[in-house]
């Protein structure tokens, strides 16, 4: 299996990553190399092997349902100090409407 240039541009659009034509071609080449590698791996017989969802064989640790935050106003100020634009506590972004 190999990708087309259109697929690369589409995935870039889904992730809102801007790529120019040169970058798109280069990315296509690199992604196809990865697909070649996957094809090689798919030659291995994995019948009867349960797929892993995680590289480590550990279970999820759970936390108690407790609110651990305090002084949220100061925290918000600290976070918003590095935001490009804020207003009335809101983060401002270019208008998005569907």
């Amino acid at each position: 299996m190999s990708l087309t240039l259109e697929q690369v541009l589409r995935v870039a659009h889904l992730a809102r990553i801007e790529v120019n034509e040169v970058e798109a071609h280069a990315t296509l080449g690199r992604l196809n190399e990865i697909f070649t590698l996957i094809e090689e791996m798919q030659a291995i017989d994995t019948k009867g092997v349960e797929p892993m969802a995680q590289a480590q064989d550990v279970a999820q640790r759970l936390r108690a349902d407790r609110v651990t935050e305090s002084d949220q106003l100061a925290q918000r100020s600290a976070f918003q100090a590095i935001a490009p634009e804020t207003e009335a506590g809101l983060y401002l972004v270019p208008k998005v409407l569907e």
Binding site: R61, R63, A64
Partner: protein, 483 residues
Amino acid sequence: MKAWEVVIGIETHAQLATRSKIFSGSSTAFGAAANIHANAVDIALPGVLPVLNRSAVECAIRFGLAVGASIAARSVFARKNYFYPDLPKGYQISQYELPVVVGGSLLIQVGDSEKVVALTRAHLEEDAGKSLHEGLGQHFHGRSGIDLNRAGTPLLEIVTEPDLRSAAEAVAYARALHALVRWIGICDGNMQEGSFRCDANVSVRPVGQPHFGTRREIKNLNSFRFMQQAIDYEVQWQIATLEDGGCIEQATVLFDPDSGETRAMRSKEDAHDYRYFPDPDLPPLTIDRQWVDKIRSQLPELPAAQRDRLIADYGLSAYDAKVITGSLELAAYYETAVAVAGRSNAKACANWVMGDLAARLNKENREIAESPVSAHQIGGLVARIGDGTISTNIARKVFDALWSGAGSEADEIIAREGLQQISDSGSLDTMLDELLAANAAMVAEYRAGKEKAFNALVGQAMKATRGKANPQRVSDLLRKKLD
């Protein structure tokens, strides 16, 4: 003209009633100032890691047990990737291939018939933030405001099989599910605040066609009325489109309550391209048998079981039992009233709760939880009707007094106002003798065979005692005197 069959499946997002978020220690409280409940995890600063909230998992297990589903011993969190400014990570943590709750079913009632709706699954996920497009100052024209307080609020997404065949069935299902999640205490069910929102997948096909038609998904229905209207409109639109020779394109649509119409929202090109993969930040969730058993032992009696018990043990009609088990609050109110009035008065309690009380609450637009008359008070009142202390008519006066706060218990009001029924023969005897003497004409009429005159005499007796005479006793004594 062809006959069409409607096929509907519902996806519901129920916000889980936890104190903190699903993967962080931020509060889930509604209505705070913008971004106050958005910590480093919620706004996705680099380097943060999610840690799963135990209570959110417990809510999912409670739900699974309540619908007879299987609880997955091992389930997996996945990243659902899409770009939107109110989704700070660029992906939503959800579950995909291995959800926590699998299968199960919900019994619904549509009119007089019952139907079992099969559930596909229920999975845990985080909510997104909110985008505000209006209400910003003039010079912020062309911007949207992002509030991430809701980002990371735990959701249980509950998905049905395409089992529903009409808007009425869809609404009946949504109502039953709404009642259930509130009943088991996993969701406050507040639809105005978005705690319970439904998406309806709607398609139509000619009757007899084995495969489903192409579906369109109506998003974010946050009232039962809108759900009914939106599906009705969508069904008519799809049938009209197909009968005009057109075809349905798969799409996500929004319902506009003002126009009563649905309109397509996302372009087909971008829809459903979420590139799911297991989240490397979260190892699989394991749930052992002991944990499930412990939660099972803490589940309240479920509405269907309580309904059957009210019919079997209290002798209620199926309809009464259904109404009373419509919500946990109403069922609890009723049970308290019966506990006070005694089981022999269970039917009378149902009549009062669903009759006078419900009518009064409805008139004043109040919920059962806000009733000025407590379950204890209603029970005390019904007990006094049951033992003959007061008549039903007098009971209504006592009820009014309880409603307006003119007394704390029925017994107190009855004693203070002297409302006890007059049942003893001695005092009724004297009163009736006087009455007969004063109404000789009526007596003559009765003796001439006019039954009407007898009723008039009973009425006179009730009037003379200001409604306090026991009407049955009056009737018995009168017959004895006249016949």
